[in-house]
């Protein structure tokens, strides 16, 4: 279960949204209209178990998300979920990786301080001795043109989902 976001962590004025999560109680998230640029030359890496619980993350992940490593390890990956992302994007992710396939996509992520950052993400199943053990995601710096396209598409999809 993911604790609600804490107003004390948030910088600037924010908007509050209650975010429904799959298989978890809804989470109160606090949104600030500020983008943090993806750092040049870095890869943001995380590994999850089969349910999407984080088992490893690198220092770029810690820095960009704003959460300490101790909070991230053992947390559901939806700790980064931003309400501007349509549910269908993540359904596609899970359908693909559970079928043993690689998934790519542009993702808007929510930071602990309420700001957001865009990434281009790839998720692959980790196969060990013929069995899927978990999933690895590597994010890289996206092209701005692609981010603009994705933002438009996601807004349409969200409207279709009856989103906020």
């Amino acid at each position: 279960m993911l604790p609600d976001m804490n107003p004390a962590d948030v910088i600037g004025s924010y908007r509050e949204v209650v975010l429904p999560l799959y298989g978890l109680p809804p989470r109160r998230v606090l949104l600030v209209d500020r983008e943090v640029a993806y750092p040049d030359g870095r890869l943001i890496v995380s590994v999850t178990d089969l349910r999407g619980v984080i088992t490893h993350c690198n220092s770029a992940f810690v820095e960009m998300s704003g959460y300490p490593q101790e909070t991230l390890i053992g947390a559901e990956h939806s700790i980064l979920r931003h309400p501007d992302m349509p549910a269908i994007a993540f359904k596609g992710l899970w359908d693909d990786v559970q079928a043993g396939k690689i998934w790519h996509g542009y993702v808007k992520n929510l930071r602990r301080d309420g700001a957001f950052y865009w990434v281009y993400a790839t998720v692959i199943p980790n196969v060990r001795a013929g069995k899927v053990q978990g999933y690895t995601s590597v994010r890289r710096k996206p092209a701005r043109l692609k981010v603009a396209e994705a933002a438009r598409l996601y807004a349409q999809l969200l409207a279709g989902e009856g989103g906020k």
Binding site: G41, L43, H104, N126, R128, R140, K141, P142, A143
Partner: protein, 258 residues
């Protein structure tokens, strides 16, 4: 390749090194090989291939038993050829530098425009990461022109002569360019990935000696001769690499290749 005498098999094993090592380290690998043969008490022949293609052909033909592999090739060696991992140089990671000529108008990678001419070597890992570092500029295989040259000094030359707008370097190779050359170049992006490194792998004929090989490598700093050999190679110690460490690195590499 193997001669049988009185039922005892005397085999000669082959050691090879990823062709991306700096030219000045060539003799170091001969020194390392001499040391390794003595430490393990077995005959090993060092074969240095001039390029990635010829090395790959030797791997396919199962000629290689010990390899100091770059992270890109490690994927194929472990997943397709059953190599097992032993050790990597402690605290040494493979990073990539995307550089321009010092006088270039580009201040950030997003300033680069298609059709962009890219100078690079045939090093597959560096080229993969280099292309990823160009993605924020919306540059990819369809709007870049690739100029493949034989060495990193030649990548530098192509930039200085204006034959390419950007060049890809293994960071270590960039640092080893002469300062005269380096001053005519400017890094635009320096990767900070930390998870990729070269790794020493054993093929199937030696896989069962993995523990022994690991032990002699880890013990190198404990004796004077070992220290000298490490100094030649340019690092202070080997560090143990578990199979899972290598599998993790390969998963990362696979996400970048996809």
């Amino acid at each position: 390749m193997s001669a049988s005498m009185n039922g005892v098999t005397s085999e000669k094993y082959q050691l090879t090194v990823s062709p991306d090592f700096p030219a000045k380290r060539m003799s170091s690998w001969f020194i390392f090989n001499t040391w390794l043969q003595k430490a393990l008490g077995m005959p090993i022949h060092l074969e240095l291939y001039p390029d990635f293609d010829s090395q790959r052909a030797a791997i396919s033909a199962d000629k290689v038993d010990i390899i100091y592999a770059n992270p890109y090739d490690a994927a194929m060696l472990v997943r397709e050829k059953g190599f097992v991992s032993v050790a990597r140089p402690a605290g040494k990671c493979d990073e990539c530098i995307v550089a321009v000529a010092a006088g270039s108008g580009a201040q950030v990678v997003e300033d680069l425009k298609p059709i962009c001419r890219v100078a690079r070597t045939d090093d597959p890992g560096v080229n993969l990461v280099g292309m990823i570092l160009l993605e924020p500029a919306s540059l990819g295989h369809d709007n870049t022109q690739i100029l493949t040259v034989e060495s990193y000094p030649l990548v530098a030359k192509a930039l200085m002569r204006g034959e390419a707008e950007v060049g890809f370097f293994l960071a270590e190779a960039f640092d080893e360019l002469s300062s005269l050359v380096r001053h005519q170049l400017r890094p635009l992006v320096h990767s900070q990935i930390s998870d990729f490194s070269h790794v020493l792998l054993l093929g199937s004929r030696l896989a069962e000696r993995r523990e022994e090989v690991t032990r002699v490598l880890l013990d190198m700093p404990a004796e004077a001769k070992g220290q000298d050999v490490l100094a030649e190679l340019g690092f202070a110690a080997w560090e143990r690499v578990t199979q899972e460490d290598t599998e993790f690195m390969i998963d990362l590499m696979d996400t970048l290749k996809a």
